[in-house]
């Protein structure tokens, strides 16, 4: 298997434990874009501490699925419960869920008019009402964790793509989320920068964070995930623990997909 970003380092699994507690519960969820049925009868339960990688061809609905979890997209039927809060049109619940769930985007979406530090302290100060000094201390802690504390007073436009994505991760962590969603976090990066972002994500997994990642980095999936979900045409086609998933795929569609992305 030729994966340019195969994870070579030893993963510390001492804190990577899946608990019995349920973090996310999705039952019979459906979503349409106009007449187009994007997500069909999605059933998914995520336990606290799980690290799930969602794979699939483009247009299969994997991004839409995780965007439904913090209500960036609205679902039309079925039920999504995050941390015991059901997502309905109630704005209070939505904001509550959003402040508990961190999200990292493909295009970073940092706020270009604010410094790196301000990007990280904005939500804690205005949503969590944390005092400014405390928020700045927390932000510096997480910026050190993603290894760019020296950039704190620069603006996003002055940083490289990989650095920006690490800031985006730090920005989410500053809200002390219990669940992290990653929407193709490395797809917009140069090959040289993918590794630094993946390393940050691996560290996060090692600390026991509940993570859902839409990604094409199969090396990351094999090393870190405890479950891989394969989606096609808005449905979950197959899910399994990574070794089984990669070595012994069951459905024809999965086999075809794996042969295409791993075959060269």
């Amino acid at each position: 298997m030729a994966d340019p970003h195969a994870v070579t380092r030893e993963i510390n699994r001492s804190q990577m434990q899946v608990s019995e507690e349920i973090a996310i519960e999705i039952v019979k969820m459906n979503k349409w874009y106009g007449a187009f049925h994007v997500l069909r009868d999605i059933d998914l339960t995520v336990n606290r501490g799980e690290r799930i990688v969602i794979a699939g061809p483009s247009g299969s609905g994997k991004s839409t699925l995780i965007r439904c979890i913090n209500r960036l997209e609205e679902h039309q039927s079925g039920k999504i419960v995050v941390d015991g809060i059901e997502l309905t049109s109630d704005l209070k619940n939505i904001d509550k869920v959003r402040s508990e769930v961190g999200m990292v985007f493909q295009h970073f979406n940092l706020f270009p008019h604010l410094t790196i530090l301000e990007n990280c302290t904005l939500a804690p100060i205005w949503v969590r009402k944390v005092p400014k000094k405390e928020a700045e201390a927390t932000a510096m802690h997480f910026l050190e964790k993603v290894k760019i504390p020296e950039q704190a007073n620069k603006y996003p436009g002055q940083l490289s793509g990989g650095q920006q994505q690490r800031v985006a991760i730090a920005r989410s962590l500053c809200m002390k989320p219990r669940i992290m969603l990653f929407d193709e976090p490395t797809s917009a990066l140069d090959p040289e920068m993918i590794k630094e972002v993946l390393d940050t994500m691996i560290e996060l997994a090692e600390e026991g964070m509940t993570m859902l990642c839409v990604t094409h980095e199969m090396g990351f999936a094999q090393a870190v995930a405890n479950r891989v979900i394969f989606m096609d045409q808005g449905q979950i086609v197959e899910q399994n623990e990574p070794t089984e998933f990669f070595n012994n795929p069951q459905s024809e569609r999965t086999k075809l997909f794996l042969s295409q992305i791993l075959g060269h």
């Binding site: 960036l72 959003r98 985007f105 706020f111 270009p112 949503v127 002055q158």
Partner: protein, 491 residues
């Protein structure tokens, strides 16, 4: 030594090239001339033609300027002075008219003993704006502030009346101090522009000091209503109350209170200024009052309209679209006529609704519709990811707008917004159609109708045009400075 290991591999570079300065033929004045003015037969002809036109125009206008007369009491005196010095055929400008009628161009028919009031209002305007406009340059700004203060004190002194000049100097000193502080901590002084609105109103129109205080109290009433109701009844009720409460206060509560207070205190200077009627306003005082008030109110209104137009709520959206399209589809003069004539039919008989206030309302509405569209453009230019990131962090709609969306959208819209402001300021000359004395036509006609200056033609228009140009050009330069200051992409 060779750079290439051509024996072993196809190509390997082992020394990187350093950048070098360009060849000499790429620099120099002659090179520039050849490239830009005489690069071919066509361009050579155009250059010569252009130079010819410039020479012709200068030849036409320059003698007129050079023969200018600055000291005379009438146009006839001007002409005889020109004939005496430059011969019977000479033409010359008669700027003496401006020297003599300067105060009329500036103040209209504002009583001259009170000239210090608009001047003081202008000085305080700079103080009020300094913390907003210039957040950075504290040193340069202090010097500029000093120069402006000195100029204003000198101007006020030249209109006699030493008592007001004394007050003025003290106020200027305090204001200067506040301005310097403000440049260091702009947030500490954010209240001053609001209070300034009250002070300026009182200085310009006079009357009891409690009128502006009661008006400003309305804002406090609204704020209190919001503060008290927000935790109990939720945001929507609180915002509604914050809008309704001040209106109720202004409509019912404020007048008895003003009456009571003004009766309790004597009609002397700290509490009461001799009132000046709106009819007496004119010239640049009028243009500035209408222009600046319009600018100050049309920006927030434009923001609200732009947000409303993008709203998901159907009714709000329909109202905003209807308003914007209606206002943009109607000439400003129509609105001004409505303000001056038609409004009287709809208002209850006997209501005295100040004409300048009506004009300001119309000009503000007009400009707000244009600004709303400019800001909508800025909002549309923001990538969707900015909204999503703000949502994903749990910021609610208003916080996301205030902290993430608006700062960026407004920055993108600066050139368009400033264009609207410039347009608004120039449009203040249209108030001549509702019988107010704007500087361009109102005052100029009054001057040209006098016996002394009958027949003067170019000079007043050039003078007024030059002042408009100065103000508008400053706004344009300021917008460029602001754009530069807010630039965040340093790639």
């Amino acid at each position: 030594m060779s750079d290439l290991h051509s024996e072993s591999v196809a190509f390997v570079r082992d020394t990187m090239l350093t950048p070098q300065s360009p060849p000499a033929s790429q620099a120099g004045a002659i090179k520039w001339l050849r490239e830009n003015l005489f690069s071919g037969p066509m361009n050579t002809i155009l250059t010569i033609l252009g130079v010819g036109i410039v020479v012709y125009l200068v030849n036409l206008g320059l003698p007129w300027f050079l023969h200018s007369v600055w000291n005379a009491n009438s146009l006839a005196e001007c002409r005889s002075a020109i004939t005496a010095t430059w011969g019977p055929d000479a033409h010359g400008a008669c700027w003496a008219m401006i020297r003599e009628r300067w105060s009329q161009f500036m103040f209209g028919f504002y009583p001259n003993v009170f000239y210090w009031r608009p001047i003081l209002a202008l000085l305080l305007l700079f103080v009020a704006l300094a913390p907003i406009l210039f957040a950075e340059f504290s040193n340069r700004l202090t010097i500029a502030g000093g120069v402006v203060a000195a100029l204003v004190v000198w101007l006020a002194a030249s209109y006699g009346e030493w008592l007001p000049v004394g007050i003025l100097a003290v106020v200027a000193a305090i204001a200067g101090l506040l301005a310097v502080q403000g440049t260091k901590w702009p947030h500490n002084l954010i209240w001053f522009p609001i209070v300034y609105a009250g002070i300026a109103f009182w200085l310009l129109w006079g009357g009891s000091i409690f009128t502006p205080i009661a008006a400003l109290a309305g804002i406090v009433v609204g704020w209190l209503a919001f503060r008290i109701l927000a935790p109990i009844a939720g945001n929507i009720v609180a915002v509604t109350a914050a809008v309704v409460a001040p209106v109720l206060w202004w409509y019912f509560g404020s007048e008895p209170v003003i009456d009571l207070l003004s009766r309790a205190l004597p009609r002397v200077e700290p509490f009461w200024l001799p009132p000046v009627d709106s009819d007496q306003f004119g010239g640049f005082v009028l243009a500035f009052v209408i222009g600046l008030t319009g600018i100050a109110f049309s920006l927030p209104m434009g923001i609200v309209l732009a947000l409303g137009r993008r709203s998901d709520m159907l009714l709000v959206k329909a109202l905003c679209v209807g308003f914007i399209e209606f206002i943009r589809g109607v000439p400003l003069i129509t609105l001004l006529f409505t303000a001056s004539l038609l409004l009287n039919y709809f208002l209850p008989p006997g209501t005295n609704f100040d004409i300048i206030l009506r004009v300001i309302i119309m000009v503000t509405l007009f400009s707000a519709a244009y600004i709303a569209e400019v800001i909508r453009g800025g909002l549309a230019a923001l990538p969707r990811g900015q909204y999503e990131a703000a949502d994903a962090l749990g910021l609610d709609y208003w916080k996301a707008q205030r902290l993430i969306i608006m700062p960026q959208a407004l920055k993108i819209s600066i050139p368009g917004i400033v264009s609207s402001f410039i347009g608004l300021f120039k449009d203040t000359t249209l108030v001549v159609f509702v019988a107010l004395l704007d500087p361009l036509k109102g005052i100029t006609d009054a001057v040209r109708a006098s016996i002394e200056w009958k027949g003067i033609y170019w000079e007043p228009y050039i003078f007024v045009g030059a002042i408009f140009f100065l103000v508008c050009f400053s706004m344009s330069r300021y917008s460029m400075y602001l754009e530069n200051r807010l630039k965040r992409e340093h790639r």
